[in-house]
Every structure is written in structure tokens, then in C-alpha cells.
Symmetry: C2
Subunit: 194 residues, 2 copies
DNA sequence: GTCTATAATAGGATAGAC
DNA sequence: GTCTATCCTATTATAGAC
């Protein structure tokens, strides 16, 4: 339902913006390009987003937030053991990255780095996304009976490490950073078990 | 000697470009802004960099590569125990990030993400930088008598995790992701000891 | 090596007909 | 809601005097 060609204009715009900003960043993506890719006119973009490019950016980040949260949830629920689940998640990210020709890494990192400290609305949407993802991991760990403090700290490192490993894998055009980091994360998590 | 106001024009341009691209990314930084910040004229920029913006970008990335390598080397050599040294390095990055008002994270991440798959020259300079940093960590670990394979894999995860934790710390405006990740990295490294 | 002026193009944004 | 035309500014890059 989320990926049909018959999607509404607003949704097509958000999806196109999200994809383009994932690959080119916020500054590298033009409103006209978004409109073209979304098969919408410039007038439609400003009709749905009177706030202009910043408003499109916020919606794109929020869309990517939910999309990655879904992927994370799915990945985490395929395995009962959270350590194995995280490692599987890293491999999944590596596969997706490679299959995209090394173009589709974290959907919001580029936008995050370009706008931090300079575009408050986007900054806030980015911070919320990171928090959201961390919470998903923390909840999974707590449900696997990790103490709250350990779960909290491990979730921070899991998301940070996946972010960094995806960046490293992307610029190196290699799955290795993600698979290695996934195994190290599993080892770290297991070292807190029992 | 590297930070004197009497630096040559070319060096001032490279330093200004490196700083601006660290904060705003490659796409978000204009050549005119670089010239202004470097107290040089547009003519001088194109005199030293006939390759235009891309050539400036490559030089900026290479400059940042060396700068971060120096910081890393210094950090790694303050402690004999590599686990403690990495944790100290993470705290050092956190301090620097906070003191800059959360603006100065990894000097090349933004540029890397915006240009990957689209600007081969910059892509290559970025890949070299990551490799360079990883090698510094791997060498440190090998010198501390870690087996070559462990040192290699750990170095990948150390750089990836520092990258991701710095990104997370920056968007969260909190030192916690970096300090927590530093401690987790130390724990991971120690788990390979003996 | 430095400077100013300018070309050529692309950017974000708006107006108003339909 | 959609579309086209257009405004204004900023962008990269070049030319040529000094």
C-alpha cells in the first residue's frame, strides 16, 4: 500500500524527496528535481508544502524515520536472541546497500549532517528519528530481560555502530564493515547476558 | 605552523573549505563563501584549483584526513593500553564536539555522503581517509600484541563506531553516545585480550 | 598571484489561469 | 489540485586588466 504507483501526489512528493535526499543530501537535492521525480508539478509541491524546501525536508525525514523503524522492527523480530537479531539486521543493511549499487545507506544521515545547527525544524525531526530507533532496540533488549541500564546503553551503541558501519560500508563499497560490526555488536551484547 | 594567520593563500583556501564542508557539507558550501572565509579572491581560488569546486573538495578532504589522523595518533599514544586509549579518544571527540557548539563532528562525513557514487575524485579521497584511520588503529592494536586478524576486524569496528557515535552525539547534542560507545569499544577490545 | 566584472546557468519561490 | 510562466537571487566558472 505504501509503494503503489497510484499513491497520492503528496505521498509521491515525500517519497521522492526522501529517496533523493538519502542519495544526494538535503542541499544537493532541488525542489524542481523532487517535483520531476515525483511526477508532480512545482505548483503541487508548494500547494502541499507552503513551507517550501524545509517543510519538504522535514516530511522526508519523518517518512524515512518510519520506514527504517519498520525495517528495524521486522529485523529484530525474526530472531528471539537479540544479539543474533542485531547481527542479522547488519547483514540485511549490507545486502540492501550492495544491491542498490552502494547508493542507499542511512536515509537521513546526509540531511542530518548538512542541516545540524542550521535548520532547526529538520534538526528536530532527525533527533526524533534517532531516538525512535534507539527506543526500538532498547525495548527489544529489555524484553529479552536485559537490565534497564544495560539495555539503554547498548541501544545507544547499537544504533551508533550501525550508522557508522553503514557509512563506512558505503564509502568503501564493501559489506565487510557492516557484517564485522554486526558480529562485534552481538559479542558485546552477549557479554552483558546473565 | 599549520594554523598561523600568515599561511599561504592556497593553504588558507584548503583550511576554509575543509571547515565549511565539515559544517555544511560539500553541496551546502559555495566557492564564493570559501574564498571569503579564506580572505582570498575568487580569482585566487581558481588560480590554485583550476579543477574548480571538485578539486577544492578533494584537497579539503585530504586535509581533513591528515588532521584527524594526527588527532587519532596523539590520542592513541597517550595510553599504553589500546582499550583505554580508544575510550579516551571518544571522550576527546565528545569534548571537542561540545566545545564547538555541536558543529564540528567528523570533518568528512557530510561531504562523503553527498558525493558517494556521484563525484569519483572526492569519493576516492574519502575512501583513502577511512582506510588511513583504520590502519592507524589496526597498527596500534597489533603493536599491543593483538593477533593480526583481530586487530584488523577491531579497527574496522572502532572507526565505524566512532563515526556513528559522533554523528549520533551531534544530532542529539549530547556527549553520551560518544562516551558510552567508547566504553563499549574498550570492553569489546578487552574481550579479545589474552 | 590578485582583483573585478560578467557570463551562463540553476536555485527557491510566487502568481494566476485553469 | 494542477499547471505554466516568471521573478529574483545565488551558483559555478571565465576573462582580462593589473
Amino acid at each position: 500500500m505504501a509503494n503503489t504507483p497510484q499513491a497520492g501526489t503528496r505521498e509521491r512528493i515525500v517519497r521522492a524527496a526522501s529517496l533523493l535526499m538519502q542519495r544526494q543530501g538535503y542541499e544537493g537535492t532541488g525542489i524542481k528535481q523532487v517535483a520531476q521525480e515525483a511526477k508532480a508539478t512545482l505548483g503541487s509541491v508548494y500547494h502541499f508544502f507552503p513551507g517550501g524546501k524545509q517543510a519538504v525536508g522535514v516530511a522526508a525525514v519523518q517518512h524515512a524515520d518510519q520506514e527504517f523503524a519498520d525495517l528495524l522492527s521486522a529485523s529484530l523480530s525474526t530472531e528471539a536472541d537479540p544479539a543474533k537479531a542485531i547481527a542479522a539486521c547488519a547483514r540485511e543493511l549490507a545486502r540492501h546497500l550492495r544491491e542498490s549499487g552502494w547508493t542507499d545507506g542511512c536515509p537521513i544521515s546526509a540531511t542530518a549532517l548538512e542541516t545540524t545547527g542550521r535548520v532547526p525544524d529538520i534538526e528536530q525531526a532527525v533527533a526524533q528519528a534517532f531516538q525512535h530507533w534507539r527506543d526500538l532496540v532498547a525495548t527489544t533488549l529489555r524484553e529479552a530481560s536485559f537490565p534497564q541500564n544495560d539495555a539503554h546503553d547498548l541501544a545507544i551503541t547499537v544504533i551508533s555502530t550501525l550508522e557508522g558501519a553503514e557509512l563506512t560500508a558505503q564509502v568503501s563499497k564493501s559489506e565487510t564493515p557492516l557484517t564485522v560490526a554486526g558480529e562485534h555488536l552481538a559479542r558485546l551484547i552477549n557479554s552483558y547476558k546473565g
